[in-house]
């Protein structure tokens, strides 16, 4: 294998600890270094497409040592993290100028990226927990970065629930270790296959679902998200909603359910129910919001529901032994929606940051007529809204279409109906954003505002272009076979994961 896997962790980690040394005077230099780090991670993630491999840390043989595993799902997640981190970092260059401790912000940002990259590469379940905590701790600090009343309150709430979730995961890991005697995920999965899921392991699986469900903000574990995501600075909201809840929640959950424990009918139904609850409750709560970032945060809950629904449907079909093709299609839809949501939701949060920076408010009722004043922001926001609602040919349309086809083929017509209904709710909430923020009368106090320039504009425009082009991931067979199909195969292969990753 050409690329040594630890560089994905080493680059952001080293940069994160070097950056605070630049101090107040070296702010510009620190920004450039941080941007170089995220861009090189994106380049490395692109270079990793289609590759797979195992790296033994410190040359300790498996299963004694810690190993890093690159497979299709990991490289898909690395790519999503790379794209969103590069976009958000570029946006931060301009946006974070008004905060005082910019180099500290940049190093926390990179620490979070290091944690997420480590989590998706980890092949060892305790190591997964360690990286989960690195990413979570950095995100708690970033949510409270503004140090205002609301930021601190949201950060405390997020931190209490996040720490409880981490402890659930740690307890589950302890139970798994007690029952199987290994920590390597491939070996655990082999041990689980031979012993079957006994009471202790079943309890551990329940703890994993609750713990990762809290991290993914699935309804009914979502209470922290609508406070935490709007309170963070806009690029961090983009990172949190775009990739953090997916990496820490959905990816870890899928990895544990599919590759370690193996799918079962009960878990499949549980994921479907959690997904549908999140979709419907998130969408209803979002429509009533007037704070633009809060509305988008609730819509994240709703969208994460789509991803979990797709994965859960796949798990159910696999466990029942139905046609593999439709199970793959459901998982394909879920994972494609995950990547799409990473791009368009981070773009939406960046545009909300641009609006907030220009107008000084997040309340939709105090805005209006911004289309003339903020043309780039408006275009980017419209493209992202069209994607999230699912208007062809934008990206969200394809992933929802695939989910609907999979649900119909599996004879779950009501699930297909729920998907369409929630899409309508999504249409209402983003029409509301368009109507109140960009159309209508311009209030008098906003007549002198100026649009953000430079890197912020570049970040928004490049993500908007990506939103339009994402459809090619499914329409161009070469790209589909290289990026999405390997990731789907990792999950449909299920416990055969041990064959690649351990031995």
């Amino acid at each position: 294998m050409s690329i040594p896997l630890p560089v994905f962790i080493a680059i952001p980690l080293t940069t994160a600890f070097v950056l605070p040394m630049f101090g107040a005077k070296g702010k510009a230099a620190a920004t450039v270094v941080a941007n170089l780090a995220t861009l090189s991670l994106l380049a490395l993630a692109i270079a990793c497409i289609g590759q797979s491999g195992v790296y033994e840390v410190g040359k300790w043989p498996i299963p004694l040592g810690i190993n890093l595993v690159l497979d299709g799902l990991s490289s898909l997640m690395l790519l999503a993290i790379g794209v969103v981190a590069a976009g958000a970092m570029l946006f931060s260059a301009g946006y974070m100028e008004r905060y005082t401790a910019k180099s500290k912000y940049l190093s926390l940002f990179l620490l979070m990226v290091a944690g997420m990259n480590g989590l998706v590469l980890s092949g060892d379940i305790f190591n997964l927990f360690v990286f989960l905590e690195i990413a979570s701790l950095a995100s708690y600090a970033l949510v409270g970065f503004g140090c205002g009343h609301e930021e601190l309150e949201a950060s405390f709430k997020y931190m209490v629930l996040g720490t409880v979730a981490s402890l659930f995961v740690l307890l589950a890991i302890a139970l798994v270790y007690g029952n199987t005697g290994v920590l390597n995920m491939a070996y655990i999965s082999k041990a689980v296959q031979s012993s079957g899921v006994n009471a202790g392991l079943g309890f551990a699986l329940g703890l994993f679902i609750v713990g990762f469900g809290l991290k993914a903000a699935l309804v009914p574990f979502h209470a922290w998200l609508p406070d935490a995501h709007p309170s963070a600075p806009a690029p961090i909201s983009a990172m949190l909603s775009g990739v953090l809840i997916k990496t820490l929640g959905v990816y870890a959950l899928a990895r544990v359910v599919f590759n370690v424990f193996g799918v079962s009918v009960e878990v499949g139904w549980l994921l479907i129910v959690l997904g549908i609850l999140s979709m419907v409750a998130g969408a209803f709560l979002a429509i009533g919001q007037w704070d633009i970032k809060r509305l988008m945060a609730y819509s994240s809950i709703s969208q994460i529901g789509y991803v979990v629904l797709g994965i859960g449907l796949g798990a159910l079909l696999l466990a029942r032994g139905d046609s593999l093709a439709w199970a793959s299609l459901a998982i394909f839809g879920g994972l494609f929606h995950l990547v799409n949501h990473a791009v368009y939701k981070s773009l939406l949060f960046l545009t909300s940051g641009s609006v907030e920076m220009s107008t000084g408010t997040r309340d939709l009722r105090e805005m209006g007529g911004l289309a003339a004043k903020l043309p780039f922001t408006r275009t980017a926001c419209t493209v992202a809204s069209a994607s999230i609602v699912g208007i062809p040919p934008f990206s969200g349309f394809w992933s929802k279409l695939i989910l609907i086809i999979a649900a119909v083929q599996a004879h779950f017509y009501w699930i297909a109906a729920v998907i369409v209904f929630v899409s309508l709710c999504t249409l209402i909430m983003y029409l509301k954003v368009q109507r109140y923020a960009f159309l209508g009368e311009l209030p008098e106090n906003l007549e002198r505002i100026e649009e953000s320039r430079g890197t912020m504009r570049v970040a928004m425009v490049s993500l908007a272009c990506l939103c339009v082009l994402m459809g090619s991931l499914v329409l161009v067979p070469g790209l589909r076979d290289a990026i999405l199909e390997p990731a789907v195969k990792v999950l449909t292969d299920g416990v055969k994961y041990s064959a690649i990753a351990g031995m």
């Binding site: 701790l137 309150e153 405390f156 209490v160 402890l167 920590l183 609508p226 809060r294």
Partner: protein, 122 residues
């Protein structure tokens, strides 16, 4: 029996973190949960009348390079101890962050009571 007590400790911590209104008590509840999980990990590796997992002359035969079977059968599992050390360090990091956020909130609001710290709603 010790496992049940350990689980009880975990539940007490969870109760404390969920029910209490004072922020410092919530933090203490999380600490109790953390201690319960650490204790559970240590107990997994514990062996009654076991020996420390260090190979010394009594168990190692330099001539053949063999480790005595008695050592493998009697020694305590060292891996959970390593895990607990890692998890204690992580716990320390999150405790420091949590307490510093508590102090900043107290400076802003003048209270530790979470029922009075409610600017976010909806």
């Amino acid at each position: 029996m010790p496992y049940a007590l350990c689980f009880l400790l975990f539940v007490i911590g969870l109760y404390c973190a969920v029910v209490k209104k004072n922020m410092v008590k919530i933090v203490l509840g999380i600490l109790i949960m953390e201690c319960a999980v650490n204790l559970f990990l240590v107990m997994l590796g514990y062996r009654h009348d076991g020996v420390a997992p260090i190979i010394d002359r009594a168990y190692y035969d330099p001539g053949t390079g063999q480790i005595a079977a008695g050592f493998i059968n009697n020694s305590v599992d060292p891996l959970p101890q390593a895990l607990v050390l890692t998890s204690i360090v992580i716990g320390l990091g999150s405790l420091a962050l949590m307490i510093s956020i508590c102090i900043r909130i107290y400076e802003k609001y003048g209270t530790f009571d979470i029922t009075q710290i409610r600017r976010l709603r909806g």
